[in-house]
Symmetry: C2
Subunit: 411 residues, 2 copies
């Protein structure tokens, strides 16, 4: 298919759908649960055992038959004989019959015959004689077998990121290794004759390459493995060469060289070896964003301006990385609602991404103020902001006081 057949410009939602629908899932690998923090679970995991796997005491006190305590009170304590202790970590030898009690600690196995635990603070002990001042009912202060988890129960769904509490739960039921998605490898390339690697001193006419570094950081944040392939000049042959060698990775991300001034070179390079999925997105910043498919792999052409590169990464590339891992949640950013502190104009038919800073007003309400900026060349507009708001395509702006959703930058 030739390049000129595809001049398809799309809106943000269509762009995302086109990307997601053509995503190839990465393969999975087995890892130790103790090393699985933040990995994405490949398939649902079931409990290997009941948790707890024995009836255990939830309190320090005495295992008893609840019936023996019925009707007791401070004035008229139930009197029981202590026949032994059930030590934590041991299987108790003592059993319980009516009129008997066994000392237990939190976590002790409940001896046979007992059906409740009286708390130590509601008892008085003298040698083997126990007074109980408060009645218990069967089951009181006992954690029953399977109360937390039943053997075979689904404990973690496919597509979930592993959190510390998931590590707890997996280990508690004897799951030691799990299948997770491999981290997608992402080749990141900056293009432009004006680019040089950052150094202490500026060089007249030249601009530091920052995109491969910031985008690599984003790749890490979204769960992928970045490979920084450095700078390539605006040469068709060189761009084609680096693209072909980058296809050994799961995704390829270019930044720069997509504006009119660069004469469409990079989209032509992509269509010379594959096809373009779309060309240009109705958004600001990010308007020239283009995506191609080469040998089933996505090639993202992001704008060169750092702010536009970052925002389009979070809109398209980050979610694509997560989709490749089959993650349920494609966007890691937290959202909060706020009131807009100032009118923001926008253009019908285009989605605007506005950097905002949050402040609490006198009534304790969160107010979002647009960060003054003159376009996507101003990197400090991203560092001074707390997050982004999106103004949808069907609006000509948002009035002061509008309720907005702010996608927060990670803290």
């Amino acid at each position: 298919m030739s390049f000129h057949e595809i001049e398809r410009r799309v809106d943000v939602e269509t762009a995302q759908k086109l990307i997601y629908s053509s995503i190839r899932k990465v393969i999975t690998e087995e890892v130790d649960v103790v090393d699985s923090l933040s990995r994405v679970v490949a398939k649902e995991i079931r409990s290997e055992s009941d948790v707890p796997h024995f009836d255990r005491s939830a309190m320090d006190g005495f295992a008893v038959i609840a019936g023996d305590t019925f009707g007791c009170s401070q004035q008229k304590p139930a009197k029981l004989e202590i026949t032994g202790a059930s030590n934590v970590g041991r299987v108790p030898r003592a059993t319980i019959a009516s009129g008997k009690a066994v000392e237990v600690a939190t976590g002790s196995q409940i001896p046979k015959g007992a059906d409740a635990v009286v708390k130590i603070e509601n008892t008085d002990r003298t040698g083997n004689q126990l007074k109980v001042f408060l009645p218990v009912t069967p089951g009181d202060n006992i954690s029953r077998v399977g109360e937390d988890l039943k053997k075979g129960e689904v404990i973690i769904d496919a597509g979930q990121f592993i959190r510390p509490q998931d590590i707890s739960l997996l280990l508690a039921c004897g799951v030691l290794r799990i299948q997770v998605a491999k981290k997608p490898t992402v080749g990141v390339i900056a293009t432009g004759n004006e680019l040089i690697e950052p150094q202490k001193t500026q060089i007249p006419g030249k601009v530091f390459n920052i995109n491969t570094h910031s985008l690599s950081a984003y790749v890490t944040l979204y769960g992928g493995l970045p490979i920084d392939l450095g700078i390539v000049g605006d040469s068709f042959e060189e761009l084609k060469k680096v693209l072909e060698s980058a296809l050994k990775y799961d995704l390829v991300v270019f930044s720069g060289s997509t504006s009119v001034g660069k004469k469409d070179m990079l989209p032509e390079v992509v269509s010379s070896v594959g096809r373009l999925v779309f060309r240009g997105v109705s958004m600001r910043p990010g308007n020239p964003t283009t995506v191609g498919l080469v040998n089933g792999k996505h090639v993202f052409l992001l704008p060169g301006f750092p702010v536009a590169a970052m925002i389009t990464f979070e809109t398209f590339v980050g979610p694509a990385i997560r989709k490749m891992m089959n993650a349920k949640c494609l966007d890691p950013r937290s959202e909060i609602t706020a009131l807009l502190g100032k009118r923001v104009p926008s253009t019908l038919g285009r989605r605007d991404y506005v950097r905002v800073r949050l402040q609490l007003d006198e009534e304790g309400q969160t107010v979002a103020y647009p960060v003054r900026s003159s376009g996507s060349g101003i990197i400090s507009s991203m560092t001074k902001a707390d997050g982004l708001i999106e103004i949808s395509e069907d609006l000509e702006g948002l009035e002061k006081g509008s309720k907005v959703i702010v996608k927060l930058f990670p803290r």
Copy 2:
């Protein structure tokens, strides 16, 4: 100071204050900016140069003298002569006088004499003849020297975590290496005769050690370096030995062995070599939480129940790790407000931590439902929840419909 002198029980806020006020900051180290993601900046960083460091075009088009375009229109274009081009990445040789124009691309250096750029879409070119259909004013479509950052300007404050956009900004102005806080090392120990390392099959009476693994994951999430020191039995001498050897780390965290049943062994161990800062916190779960200081290092004694261990970690240990790094933000959790879906009782004088699950109601409001659980033994209550709410010490519970703040678990 003997152990018995200190039987100080405190509330959550006092506990945090006591911990923070005795924190020793970790030392700093220099790292490459490109490897600094999520590190904490040790001291404020200033720009090494103006950004941009030359006046550059923000558009594809032509650099002109704005005055030459005044009054022009579609019907009556201004007519200029193109004298050359300013290529991206080169210092332009062309200069501009009245009646002249120089071709520029986005990012091109503005030639001497020009004070504005007309966009290519508002022009028509024939050979060296240029027609301009829309007037510009001085400064239009030019990014001025220092517009983003001025040399010497503070760009990142001390105590901030490095985000991808901070990497962008630092590199853009030539900052290549920065001072960051060293990651605090945290020795993590589980105590209890009942504990064994997790395995496929449960052993009668025994319980799997999960706390060193889940707490190590939390240490990583909060920015520290965990060292899993495994299980130690309930023996005074063994506990003392492991504590003394763990003092080579910046922090020490024990879990278990703090309940009444364990006969105060661990607090006694700590006070035999140092002192207790407080003993017990009015909270649930987490009531036995105790903190000691040995050789200026904090020793945290967390409860053994996994849920209590995790919640007290996030309340005390995680913030302490961040405080050691001098981080501004001690709690990485995002907060949202929600309506409580069900009445939750609590006890006056104690702070309750309630696990909640979030749901949207028909009106689109976020509702927080307490996760059914029977205490801190139920790990699944943490995995089924989306976050925690806190019920303050001066309340006897929260009514259905109350506005609550939910601290979200990371996604």
